[in-house]
Point group: D2
Chain length 347, copies 4
């Protein structure tokens, strides 16, 4: 049994890790780390785990936990993982960091967008960007995995094959993304109260959301050069789900939907968790809720010669905890899909 | 592998059966029966099963299916199961009927409340009312199980120990129930459109909802005599979940919360799927969503000497498909919890 | 023009007062009092009033405001109004208090249920309970009106004629109430976050909610003796609306629906804001949203001889700000319906 | 009093016309035309109007109605208005058509996108496109006004000044729009059931939604040449509201936010119903619900030199019934804002 510790277990992503790991046949959760709820019963904070989890929340002493756990998930605010990581810890345990600390290779980009000093830049090179479908082989040998953001996972997977194959002009990429409210976290803010979110939709972080450089870096690798994109997230009155609607101009106006589809098939045909939708179907978040699947579809506009790509995933699963477990599976040599094949829950 | 056929697979309860059985290690779904979608791909109707189910919807020929399937789930409108059942079918397969056809022992009660003639009253005696926690032993030997209704399961389990032990006066029982909208089914009705349900709550079936006699019959067995109750269901703007708030006068005004709790513990202490809540906690549907658990709690009002019992479950799982699979497990000698231990999904 | 000041303008009820008073042809709002947002633009807090209200939020100095305003609405936490009220203020202005400070005549009941010392018990006698349809004449001559609670307004109006006329046994009254989430206020609490409320329903304050004694007092006046009831509020995932489902035993089992209806007609037939529903219709909150109407309907259960009464209103309008303005209209000799005839908004 | 007739009064837009006209001091509704509910009480279909509207639904005989009504609103499916209009009717009454029949000047564009033959192309020239803020003078003298679509109103108003002043390259315009579900109408379709819409978001009509050519035509007038855009609508789990997020490249990369803002001020500074948001605020549908306001804001991305414009309105008010009444006011020489100044309802 893999002994797993969770730091930040009382956030939504942390609690989703608990849900997934409880049903994972090769893991045992040994630590429910929290900052706000130390010494309280975890199941008092998340009543869904009543009678399923008896543990008390512990603190966030990663150094101590590293001696006990085979893998530590840090579902923590920006800066935490960078502030505690060191060689000794990495010699004792593997780390899957769900924060942004090790996602960006260029420390100055991190410090510009996150407006904080990076406390452990020397691990940036070693850290593997844990987008399994792209970096599978590297993840297998990693000690430190930077688990991608929710918007990022959906955006990159939706566009990666088109950029990599040069089918679209990367400078024309516009990503309009929509997220359920669990993406805003569980801290008590007026803006996230039921009555403020319900019956409304808004954009936020317009032109400056922190997932922008992460998307640009990864798609830039695919393009072979730095790129700039527009990325606009929106808050939607639903609990879970991310929908990405991405626009880009085709480099060859004569390319057909069949040709584009063939490229997607080539990249994703063998992937369990990426479902390339039929041509008459568009992505809907309801079809992936609770699961680790990403649904991707597209249309070519015959008039403007732009492609419109739509991707949908569950922000807490493939966008956070599910992908973290997928990374863990790879890091420990388990079947990549272990514990992650639960069908989407609808309605 | 148990070969399972589903008639009514394209309703919400039917589709939930698919979700649960897909993850059940001892079953294989051999038939996706539908009336509205014959010859269409099941995964076109329920996109969550895209790439997970390749099957085409079949019709509702139970006689043919009985030759192939070890168990048939009929998640069908009232009257269907009664119209097709016969000895030959029952000699070939087991049936778990999710409709009301075999829930009421008294055919005249059925005909009065459902306003239709019962086509197979001779099976009423044989049919076992499939509330596993109450009728476990009978279910194990049944060929025909009448799977309880969603409101009913929640209402009966919430009150059963109190009635059985004579702690409350059954004639004072008032059940005020609230249900998510999936309970209203998937047929296209104006009253169930998003804009009609969202931002509203209403009672319906006031004084005449069909689950009333079912609750009365089962609680009447516990009371040892016929009883009459008030039952009022409400439609709530959420997808899943039933909350029952039940009121009754204590027979002994001096009884303590500890004593009442002890009775609940005596009946349900060993039950996996019934979670008796701590005394400072009230039942909330969010904590059971997607799972087979029923959460039950209560308070005694020291002023009126009434007990207020609150029960919560997921209407599609413990209130329909989950309980049906729990019954199937018992009927086939499998562990009762097989395929049903998925933790609740929150948020 | 009546000069109106609002203390607590940045709560949901306060902001609803702004919405109503802006459209009221005889009033001018001269003060937007707040505790949390002093010196900020009101329209920055409530973007719906952008370009409609230019004012800056002021503090809560009622003594100063009393010199300027003809009427002051205190939409403030319990204890505030009692802590500031005095003869000088009441000689200068009229007060409509939306808190519970002056709703209960018996100070010991207040102190028991609200767990605080009442700072101005000498005004309890003078204060008029502002349920206009019941206390209309008294309100007209009041200096200090205690505006009823939201649950209370709906509960009392639904049952008042039946209690007053002795049609039901008051000791059998059970009120099961359901509220939209704006009733929980705008302060930032985890329990009221979108993801916590959405897709869930729960009871709260079971057996001890503070609106209980208010209902008991008012219905006790109607009964001519003290009564005890059960009152259970529930939180529903919607912004606005209260639905009350009330149960009581008929004193005369032979009474007909026509007879009960005649009593309702006698009491409410002339009321603008009470709509007695047709006998085949049940109350739904969607039909009153945004308006000052209360919809009331009922059924007699021929089997249990209980009456089930259902009432629906908008908790922020008839349950708070609308009723406060209705009281103001009466206090100033204006037509009672002035500024309150906006039709409900649906969907 | 202006006598107003409504054809299609039982759709959501028709019912919203009723709500607005009931509170309009210069109009009287003389006809509640319906196809599905003829001879039924209107208030039985829309319970919010119980006791407010006593009328029975009539049919759709516009020729007869024209003799009685000063203005007829046709809130009807595509093709209806074109099928009944003639000179006699237009000599007797004014028409505000809420369908698309007379929005597009080029009949071939209509026939291509709507896949039907236009039955009255000879009125296309006369019809005035009723976007009041753009075509105010023409509307004043019109007999036949084509009331703009909901997406269209929001899209055009958001971008018009930028296109007209040449600040953006029209060929780069991408409009990503999000709508509440009332935009999908009140007919009973499975796809619009509560459980299908709730907890999900999806795009639809990708590359081929019928509002596309309407936006292109109007912005083409502003540009002085034909343009092609991408327009993608999305269905959001909320009742009302449209949010448009539009992207376009600046023609002069050096243009400042102040300069862009000045242009918006120049066009909209005097408009009552267009609220140009402060630079630190983004449009949110919750702030316009129930009202005739459009909120518009923008950001310039300093990295990509694109402008991101966000507009929000209530699809049933400024996107349908409110704008129709605004047009009526202009057509009859009333103050343009008459009956339309109700503040937005929040929460």
């Amino acid at each position: 049994m893999i002994k797993a510790g969770i730091i930040g277990a009382t956030g939504y992503a942390g609690a989703e890790l608990v849900r997934i790991l409880l049903a994972h046949k090769d893991t045992e959760i040994v630590w429910y780390g929290s900052r706000s709820y130390v010494d309280q019963k975890f199941a008092k904070i998340y009543g869904n785990f009543f009678k399923l989890v008896d543990n008390i929340c512990g603190g966030d002493d990663v150094a101590a936990l590293a001696k006990e756990a085979d893998v530590i998930f840090t579902a923590t605010p920006q800066g935490f993982c960078a502030s505690i990581i060191n060689d000794e810890i990495l010699s004792q345990t593997k780390i899957v960091d769900l924060s942004a600390d090790f996602r960006l290779k260029d420390v100055s980009v991190y410090e510009t967008w996150y407006k904080r000093t990076h406390e452990a830049p020397r691990y940036l090179d070693e850290a593997v960007y844990g987008l399994c479908e792209i970096n599978r082989e590297k993840v297998k040998h990693a000690r430190l995995v930077a688990n991608p953001g929710c918007y990022t996972t959906c955006s990159i997977l939706s566009l990666y094959p088109l950029v990599k194959e040069g089918l679209i002009n990367p400078d024309t990429i516009i990503i309009d993304a929509k997220s359920g409210t669990s993406g805003a976290g569980r801290s008590a803010k007026t803006a996230n109260l039921f009555c403020e979110v319900n019956e409304s939709i808004k954009a936020y972080g317009v032109t400056n959301h922190r997932h922008t450089p992460e998307i640009e870096e990864q798609l830039g690798y695919a393009a072979g050069r730095p790129i700039l994109i527009n990325f606009t997230p929106h808050l939607v009155p639903m609990n879970r789900g991310i929908l990405v609607t991405a626009y880009a101009s085709l480099t060859d106006p004569a390319v057909t939907e069949e040709a584009v589809r063939a490229v997607y098939e080539q990249y994703y045909g063998g992937e369990t968790f990426i479902r390339l939708l039929d041509q008459d179907v568009t992505a809907e978040t309801r079809w992936v809720e609770g699961s680790n699947y990403v649904d991707i579809g597209f249309r070519i506009d015959p008039r403007t010669r732009r492609v419109v790509v739509m991707g949908a995933l569950d922000n807490l699963v493939k966008g956070a905890a599910g992908q973290a477990v997928q990374n863990m599976n790879l890091m420990f040599g388990l079947p990549e899909t272990e514990g992650l094949l639960m069908p989407p829950v609808f309605p």
